[in-house]
């Protein structure tokens, strides 16, 4: 008798387990639908006939997310064919989620994408080719060529740029005046000024050289300024850029610790007065004003070796291959309209990729913004190449090898060239 009871218990356990299993999968798959329902309630009956599409983005911060919600709401009210639902995915997890989603066919219809990754995902078949669908879209002509190029792969258009940014040189005005230095324009001036500004626990210059894409982002302006390209990290020009950065470390004007500093870390050092000049982006300005209101700072173009250069950052939006491409294009065109581009750039602390919007007073009258807008002309996109992440890892490794002294610039450059050649084969 006892045994039959225990058998019964076992059966319960098994069924309980199976039922629990079924339920949990149900829950996870309906997480998205629940959201849809929430937005549905309170809408009129026509919403039932609307095509529902999902939009993934990774802009974090409360204001940014409220802005995206507001944006999708406006879009949903502006027409009655498409119902857009936005979903935030943290940046640290974003690429992983897209890759997993791609393998499991669990994807949004529209996705924000960091522009150096656009070509990779296009090559993997994530994004739809919308060349033909954008042919009669007049607004397309308004986009700057650099950002637009980052959304193309193999001559086809896989999306549009949404926001742009680039790096510039931030400097602590008080420190420069005290040290009798002027904002440097060339590498020699930068080295000299950085040496003057170093001392008493302050280093003259810093940029994020952390392992990974963020560090490469900061290194590219130096690399390109010599006339080298990301395809030729072994050229004498590229060696020169490694030499220069190593020189700053050897002078003591740049802390070796930059290899562990993210851009946010560099900003903290700058705000604490431990770094006198830094490379950083416009998205740090709101933080700088909020957390260090007394700090007197200004921006200048990144000092040059041969040419002024900067690196293009920012996000594109792409349409995911699937059944809802046509509906998604409607949302894409809405996101690309002059008003939305303008509003988004302001709200996210970025720059507009459209010429007509960039001519707005917001960017031409403000002295700080003007420098960044100037810098945008020289900003080069990374790639676009589907294997950019591998190229980027190579550059990151050689930069770290040089700054830590593991390899001499010449040797690091030679090895980097060999890796890049192999990747590009």
């Amino acid at each position: 008798m006892k045994k039959s009871i225990s058998l019964l218990l076992v059966l319960f356990l098994i069924f309980g387990f199976l039922a629990g299993c079924g339920q949990s999968t149900d829950n996870s798959s309906s997480a998205g639908t629940n959201k849809n329902e929430q937005t549905d309630s309170g809408k009129d009956d026509t919403s039932a006939a609307k095509t529902k599409i999902a939009f993934w983005y990774y802009w974090d911060g409360k204001n940014q997310q409220e802005y995206v919600t507001e944006l999708t709401q406006k879009f949903n009210e502006s027409q009655n064919e498409v119902e857009m639902v936005s979903q935030y995915v943290p940046f640290a997890d974003y690429k992983k989620q897209l890759s997993i989603g791609l393998a499991a066919s669990n994807l949004p219809d529209v996705a924000v994408i960091d522009n150096p990754d656009h070509a990779s995902y296009a090559a993997m078949g994530l994004f739809a080719d919308i060349n033909d669908r954008l042919r009669d879209w007049a607004d397309k002509e308004q986009y700057f060529p650099g950002p637009m190029k980052s959304a193309t792969y193999d001559g086809k258009t896989y999306g549009i740029p949404m926001t742009s940014n680039c790096l510039a040189l931030f400097y602590n005005e008080e420190m420069l005046t005290k040290a009798g230095a002027t904002p440097p324009e060339t590498w020699d001036e930068l080295r000299e000024a950085a040496a003057k500004l170093t001392g008493n626990g302050t280093t003259g210059f810093a940029f994020s050289a952390v392992k990974g894409e963020e560090g490469v982002f900061g290194f590219i302006p130096f690399l390109l300024s010599t006339g080298a390209t990301v395809d030729s990290p072994g050229s004498p020009e590229a060696v020169k850029s490694f030499d220069f950065l190593l020189g700053l470390v050897e002078d003591g004007s740049m802390s070796k610790e930059v290899i562990n500093w993210t851009q946010a870390d560099v900003l903290k050092q700058f705000m604490a007065g431990k770094v006198a000049m830094m490379l950083n982006g416009p998205w740090q300005i709101p933080l700088l004003e909020q957390d260090a209101p007394d700090l007197k700072w200004n921006v200048a173009k990144i000092p040059k070796d041969k040419d002024f250069t900067s690196v293009l950052g920012g996000e594109n939006i792409g349409i995911v291959n699937g059944n809802n491409v046509d509906s998604a294009v409607k949302f894409l065109k809405y996101m690309g309209s002059a008003e939305v581009v303008r509003e988004t750039a302001v709200k996210l602390g970025m720059f507009p990729p459209r010429k007509d919007v960039a001519a707005d007073k917001i960017w031409t009258d403000d002295p700080v913004m003007k420098v960044f807008m100037d810098e945008m002309q020289y900003a080069q996109p990374r790639g676009p190449h589907p294997k950019w992440p591998e190229i980027s890892n190579t550059l990151s490794t050689s930069l770290q090898e040089v700054l830590t002294g593991v390899k001499a610039p010449q040797a690091a450059a030679k090895d980097a060239q060999a890796s890049v050649d192999k990747i590009k084969e």
Binding site: L13, K95, L102, G125, G201, K256, P386, E390, E401, T404
Partner: protein
Amino acid sequence: MKRFNKLLSEDVIGYCFALPALLFMLFFVGYPILSNLALSFMDVNVMTFSNKVREFVGLVNYIELLKEPILSISFFNTLLFAAACIVFQFILGFALALLFNQKFPLAKPMRGFLIISWMIPITITALIFKFMFSLDGIINEALKFLHIISVPIEWLIHPVTAMLSIMIANIWIGIPFNMILLSTGLSTIPNDIYESANIDGAGSVQKFLFITLPMLKPAINSVLVLGFIYTCKVFDLVYVMTQGGPVNATEMLSTYSYRLSFNEFSFSRGAAVANIMFIFLFIIGLGYLKLIKEDEVM
């Protein structure tokens, strides 16, 4: 009816109890392992991902990986990291377990407090250690204050000290795990044995060597093997503290596999690295099972 009852012998009941866990394992452990194995024999990367047919390439991914110096570097790093962490975690954990096994006021609450380092999310521990190990972090400041060093140590910048730093952080995290398991083991040793040893005139060293250690053998075995496997799987700590850098000094098999799969989109190669790690840990797991069996026979 009697026959039916007989069929329901203890074996059957036993299997029934194991069935839910078995199904769970098959579905959530077995399937991923097999599909990962299959992936590693195909060629799936950024350029071939959208192809309808996955090309079977046999061992090419493994051979290509063996040519990469990073694989052997990360394998060696993982091994070194796990071995060093286990030795120190075990010794310190054992010492603390013995200490808190003594009866003194506040022994129990203090042991409870020590668990905290095991409870804190690893990301947070990693961030705290990253701050502490920075050039002007508290560790360098303290060493300078004590006049042990005059120039700050480049903890996370120099390849050797970067490895040392993540080891120290991981040892700190792992001590309570060792301590608790060994404490539990200690509490199962009956007091009478020690009492009779006292009567026989055994000293404390003798009691430790000939009573405590042999009686603790099963607990020690499981602590060492489980600890080793957990340590080999380290990911978040390294990812937050050094990202596998400087250069590749702290690259582990786990971080390398992640980087290949989710950063470079070389999914097949990432899978191959994961499988290499799996085979390695599997062998260690088999060794553990054998140890347990021997103990049971005894």
